[in-house]
Symmetry: C2
Subunit: 161 residues, 2 copies
């Protein structure tokens, strides 16, 4: 680079570094982490949202797509899309719900359970990386901030000043 003395800030400095806007840093952090997760999950074919959905399904079985959407703070449409992709991949199965015509019961298939086991190992390794270099108290601060930053997002119109 010889001409025009690059005014591009180096990575990790300026607005991009620890002096940047929190919202900007938040978006980049989530992007970067999702990228690492999906690179790590490549061999399983899962995406980060699919992994999250399978994990919830395993932890809270017998629940509908709308239930899971509420847990994950997503819209029902979004969760529906994820479920369709998981069903196409034969990782889940959906049956009509007895005593409730519209609801559908969701179940992991054997393939789904096997993939989930492998995926959990991969993702939990990255999870520990996220905490590395931060004390217990600092991690508490970070968790508290993350919950506050994303907490009340789909809560209807609770804009009550």
């Amino acid at each position: 680079m010889s001409k025009a003395a690059k005014v591009l800030p180096d990575e990790g400095t300026g607005k991009r570094g620890p002096d940047g806007y929190l919202g900007y840093l938040l978006r980049q952090a989530a992007n970067g982490y999702r990228h690492r997760v999906e690179t790590s999950l490549r061999e399983t074919g899962l995406t980060q949202p699919q992994f999250a959905a399978l994990t919830m399904l395993d932890a809270y079985p017998e629940h509908s797509s709308a239930d899971l959407a509420r847990i994950a703070l997503l819209t029902p449409q979004t969760m529906s899309t994820i479920m369709q992709n998981l069903e196409n991949a034969a990782l889940i199965r959906r049956h009509p719900h007895q005593e409730h015509g519209r609801k559908r019961r969701i179940e992991l298939t054997d393939a789904g359970r096997q993939v989930l086991v492998r995926a959990k190992r991969l993702v939990y390794a990255l999870e520990t990386d996220l905490a590395e270099g931060f004390s217990e108290e600092e991690q508490r601060t970070v968790r508290r901030w993350l919950v506050a930053a994303g907490g009340r997002s789909l809560e209807g119109g609770a804009a009550k000043p």
Copy 2:
């Protein structure tokens, strides 16, 4: 707990609260914040990435789409898509670059500049919300964590210590 004592965790507790996985909390925080930003930007018609792109374009003019992708830690394809949408909305203009046949110079239009002014006011209000309730030192911790969490995401294989 008569028939099926709701095992759904309440919002803000369990894996969703301050005891949850950092990766999970990070995804939800970014989702929630983006949601708030776009709700706030509704009147301008901008999305969060479009706002970020316009801001960078304003701060570092005369740069190509690929340059901006590098700054924002996105792939060139992603930034290209955003630029196309901004161009369709007549918020930016692209001219052929002199002395560089392939590059294209990007410029905010008058409409783009006007929208950006309004959008900055709206977004910066939310930005201060993100810091509310956290001391200066806690904010430093959070920033440091966010940078570490998303930092080295697109660095091909540049393991250069």
